[in-house]
Structure formats: C-alpha cells, structure tokens
C-alpha cells in the first residue's frame, strides 16, 4: 500500500510551487483570457473569499469599538476607522488568558516532545530493526491512528481518575500522545525508509551500535521529517478539545480552546469583542508557525495520506 501510494503523491515543495508537473503550462495557450476569467479566477475568488471571510470578521470584531460592534446600520459593518485594542488588552490583563495560553503551550510542547521521542524509536525499530512481527506492529499502529478520541474519552476519564491524574496537566500530556504517536510514527516510518540503508551497513561494519546509528546517522538525515512531525503534532495538541474538556475542571489548568468556550460565555451582549479577541490571539501562534513552515505542514499532511 505504501509504495503504491508513494508514487501517487507529489513532494510537498511541488505541491506548493507546482514546479515538477505544471501541466497547464504546456497547453494554457489554448485558453483565452475571458474563458480563464470565468472558469478559473471567478470560482477560485469566490472559494477563497468564503474560506477567509470568517477570519476577517474575527479580526475586525476583535478591534471594533463596542458601539460599532452591534450597530450594523449607522456604521459600515465591513470596516472600522477607529480600531481599539480594548478587547485584547482586557483579555491579556483582566482575565486568566495568559495563563491558559501558557497551559496550552506547556501541554502541547511536552506531549509533542514525548510523542516524537517515542515515535522515533518505534519507527526506527519497525523500519530498520525489523524484529519479528514488525510489520504487524506497523499495521496495528496505523489502526491506532484510526481510533478517534470521541470514543475513547469516557473510558479514558475513568482511567485518568484511577491513575490520579485528573485535573492536572499530566492528564493531557500523557493522553495526547495516543493521538500523536500513531500519526508521527507512521510519518517517520516513511522518512526512515527513504534513508539509504547502505549508510547503516557501513556504520555497523565500523562497529557502531544501533543507538549510535540512530543518533548520528538516521536522525540528522531525517530532520525535515522530524520538523514536519513536530509542528503537525504541536498543531494537533493546540487544536485538541474533547480530552481537555473532560479531564480538566479547574479554571487555572484549562487550555485556550476549552477556556474560551466555558469561561467567556456570559450574558454580556458585548462579549463578542473579547470572544473574537480570544479566538484571534489563540490562533495567531499557529498561523505564525504555519507561515514559517508551510512546506512541512503540507508534507505532514500528504505524508499521512500516502503512507
């Protein structure tokens, strides 16, 4: 399955820039500009507008003054000439928001690091040590990837309670890897397969142990794969909701997504400003990370599919 699909997916760089196979370049002279306008630019423009509008609206709401927020008739609703940082200021200095951001960051980094270490070892063992039953374990890990959190959270909540982890960051740090390890193991297996095993044979002849091979040869060559796995896992952690909602009860341990849903929803009709500011500030770290590592995101996504 792996090899069949591997040839069916372009490299992430190509996905973004279209350098390898730019089909239409060769035949685009067959199309006139008006035709391209209707069949290409118009639909693309509409889809992009719909995809981006919620973010525009989120940002605009976050910086609108209160009196313009709800009055759609006296003020132009699509623009504001008097942006205010009141909502964001209130968010950062009058609520626990910085604490929630810190919790989210801590949980995301800790569980990502934990998962990457476990996945590197597991993926290397499956691909290169090829112990007895390695293929079966590889298949089992793929199946684990298909087990969704929504059917696990009820029994997990009793397990977390039994282990005495309830309402601590460790409840999340230890349960998120169940989502991350299958994904990143599968991704790294694909990367490790592309590293020529002749290098490892040379090292074995020179007397290197498996651990030395992994640390000194395989890992340096797999850095792009590690970055992909790392940022994708980080994004998944930041995004996770149902475990954080179930396992955390006290306000000071909550993560951003849960805190926004539970703590901000009061009766105030002007709450939209601070809600949108919360959503905006909560999304920014990921969007910035994404802007720097677009290629790695795409490779993580297509990698997850092609394996």
């Amino acid at each position: 399955m792996t090899d069949v699909l591997a040839s069916k997916v372009a490299t992430p760089k190509a996905v973004l820039t279209g350098t390898t196979a730019d089909h239409s370049e060769g035949m685009s002279y067959l199309e006139s500009l008006p035709r391209r306008l209707v069949t290409l630019y118009l639909p693309l423009g509409v889809i992009l507008l719909i995809l981006l509008f919620p973010f525009y609206w989120m940002t605009l709401t976050a910086i609108k003054p209160d009196e313009q927020l709800l009055d759609l008739d006296r003020f132009n609703p699509f623009w504001t000439w008097t942006p205010t940082f009141k909502h964001i200021y209130k968010l950062l200095f009058e609520t626990h928001y910085p604490l929630w951001l810190w919790n989210t960051m801590l949980v995301a980094v800790a569980s990502t690091v934990l998962s990457i270490i476990a996945s590197v070892l597991a993926a290397y063992a499956i691909v290169r040590l090829r112990y007895r039953g390695a293929q079966w374990v590889g298949g089992a890990i793929f199946l684990a990837y298909l087990v969704p959190p929504s059917i696990l959270f009820i029994p997990l909540s009793t397990v977390v309670f039994q282990y005495g982890l309830f309402d601590t960051p460790f409840a999340l740090i230890l349960t998120y890897p169940t989502i991350l390890i299958p994904f990143s193991t599968w991704l790294l297996m694909g990367y490790f397969k592309t590293i020529p095993f002749e290098l490892e044979e040379c090292a074995l002849i020179d007397g290197a142990t498996r651990w030395q091979i992994l640390v000194k040869i395989v890992l340096p060559l797999a850095i792009p794969g590690l970055i992909s796995a790392f940022i994708f896992c980080f994004t998944l952690c930041w995004n996770e909701f149902i475990y954080a909602l179930t396992f955390i009860s006290s306000s000071q341990h909550k993560t951003v997504p849960v805190a926004i849903v539970n703590e901000f929803v009061d009766g105030d009709i002007y709450r939209w400003g601070s809600l949108m500011a919360g959503a905006l500030v909560g999304s920014l770290p990921l969007v910035v990370l994404y802007a720097f590592f677009v290629e790695h995101y795409v490779s993580a996504m297509t990698g997850a599919v092609k394996e």
Binding site: L40, L129, G278
Partner: protein
C-alpha cells in the same frame, strides 16, 4: 579428564573472544526491537488499547461518575433502542457525515483542479487555502457562532440589504437551519485538507496524457472522467476515509456552536455520549453510545480499504 578439559575450553571460549550473552543480546533484533518499542507501546497500551476495551466493558455496566458499576448485560443498549433522542442523534450523525463528506469531496476536488492550473502567486494561494485547517477548530467554530448570531449576524444583514430576506435568519435556533449551519461550518473547515491532499495526487498525473487526449479531441469532462479520476482513485479512497472518519466522530464544532441544541436537533453521537456520560454522569449509557459508533467506523474503513484493493488489482500490481 579429557572431558573436563573439553568442558573448560568450551566454557572459556566465549570469554576469550569477549562475546558474552550481553553482547549477543545487544545485536539481537528482537531484544533491541523490544526496548525501542517500549515507550510507544507503553503509552498506546495504557491510554489507548486498555481504554478501548474498558469502554466496551463500561457499556455493559451501570457505572456512574464516582461509582464503579455492576454488570447489567445489554440493558444500556435496550434502553437506547427505545430512546428517540439516540435515534435522532444517529440520524443527525449520518446526515452530517453524508452531506458534509460529499460536498467536501466535490468542492475539494474542484478547488484542487483550479489550484493545479498555472496561476500567478500560486504558492501563496495554496498556502492561504490551508489556513482554515490550521486554526484550531473551536476558535473558528466560535467565529461561525458569531457569524450565525440570531440578531447581529452579518450574513442576515447582507441578505437583507440585497433584498433576499426581510427578517433575520435564526441560524442556530431552528432545528433544520441549525443542522445546515453546522454542516456548512464543517465543510468550510474540511475542504482545505481534501483540496491540498488531492492536489498532491493531481500533480503526479503525467501532462502527456492530457496532451494526447486534447489531440484526440476529448472534452474537458472526458479528460476528467477518463484520465484524472481513474489515476486519482487511490488517493481519493484514503483521503475520503479520513474525512468520513473525522466527520463522523466530530465533537468540538458542535459543542462550541450549539451543544446539541436546539431541542437535540444537532446532537451527534459523540456529543450525545458526552452529554449523557460526563454532564449527566451516566458513564455506562454514554459508553454504550460510543461503542455503537464502532460498527459504523469499521464499515467506513472497510469500504475504503476494498476500494483501494480493487484499484491495485486493476493496475495489475501484486498485493504487499
């Protein structure tokens, strides 16, 4: 005495060469493999396999929060069988998954084909398309919640000013409006994933096939139907499996926007199991709802798996 000497030499040989049992173990694949697998296996067994089994067990008990239950057989399932809210949630889940997956696939494929053409700022456009997928679901769900506000919705405002409607639409207050609204939000979030992964597949289709088809006088639809689609089938099977899986088990979008309301009209099986197990405290009943999702998930996985197999057989490749 000769025997003793022999024994001594056989015993002494390994030591003389410096090969101990420990040295043997250090190069033994199975032994090394065990230690390399240990961290991942420990976490997956403790927090995935064990809870999965425990979940099925819980569904046969009358456990509540703070009380381990006793075995009650199929009582939870019998109770659910007569529960109209449960069947409503099954209906909602199937509607949600069916409609959203089909539209995500159609729009995603269309967007992938559009993005595969020569465009100015191609890399930038493709990066922008993925943003809805990057932003945490709950946070974009809250943005949609605001867009769907009953009084101050900008969508209602725009439609009113164009003259299509006269009073605000109550997006999340009316059962069917609410269903379509959450389905739209799900599609909005899912399209980029489908589009970018299919785009990766599209780029490996050799351009010479399209050139040959153009010379043969094929129309655009014929080119899509007989070149693009068949070559893309394996990728489509995998992408749609994931898409169906994640849509079927969706929780956060619904919980952030409607919490299953109005009058249970948007309860999916996942949100209903949360409602019953965690909010009301009936762990056994919630676990039964979760367990009831498993057959559906297996069906989705098997369908796409056999879709893949068929393609391989058609291409004349051996199974691996």
């Amino acid at each position: 005495m000769a025997d003793a000497a022999l024994q001594r030499t056989t015993l002494a040989t390994p030591a003389a060469r410096g090969v101990t049992v420990w040295d043997r173990l250090k190069v033994n694949r199975d032994w090394l493999g065990f230690w390399f697998m240990l961290p991942a296996a420990a976490i997956l067994i403790l927090f995935l396999a064990y809870p999965l089994g425990l979940g099925v067990w819980l569904s046969f008990t009358d456990a509540r929060i703070g009380r381990t239950g006793a075995f009650v057989g199929f009582e939870n399932y019998e109770w659910l069988w007569d529960d109209s809210v449960f069947w409503l949630s099954v209906f909602n889940t199937l509607l949600y998954t069916g409609v959203a997956s089909v539209i995500k696939f159609a729009v995603g494929l269309y967007l992938a084909i559009l993005l595969n053409q020569s465009l100015p700022f191609k890399a930038l456009l493709r990066s922008i398309v993925l943003i809805p997928f990057i932003v945490p679901t709950v946070l974009s769900a809250i943005a949609f919640w605001w867009l769907y506000d009953s009084q101050f919705s900008i969508i209602s405002w725009m439609l009113r000013h164009v003259g299509l409607i006269h009073s605000n639409i109550d997006f999340l207050g009316d059962p069917w409006n609410a269903r379509w609204s959450v389905i739209f939000a799900n599609i909005w979030r899912g399209v980029p994933f489908v589009a970018i992964t299919l785009l990766a597949g599209l780029q490996t289709v050799p351009p010479s096939l399209y050139e040959a088809a153009t010379i043969d006088g094929a129309t655009r639809w014929q080119m899509f139907r007989h070149i693009t689609y068949p070559l893309l089938t394996p990728i489509i099977a995998v992408v749609m499996t994931f898409s169906v899986l994640f849509t079927f088990t969706d929780f956060q979008l619904i919980w952030a926007m409607t919490r299953g309301g109005p009058v249970n009209a948007t309860h999916l099986m996942a949100t209903l199991s949360y409602q019953r197990a965690i909010v009301s405290g009936y762990l056994g009943e919630g676990a039964a709802i979760s367990t009831a999702m498993i057959p559906f998930l297996l069906a989705a996985i098997l369908i796409s798996w056999f879709g893949l197999q068929r393609r391989k057989w058609q291409q004349g490749e051996a199974n691996d």
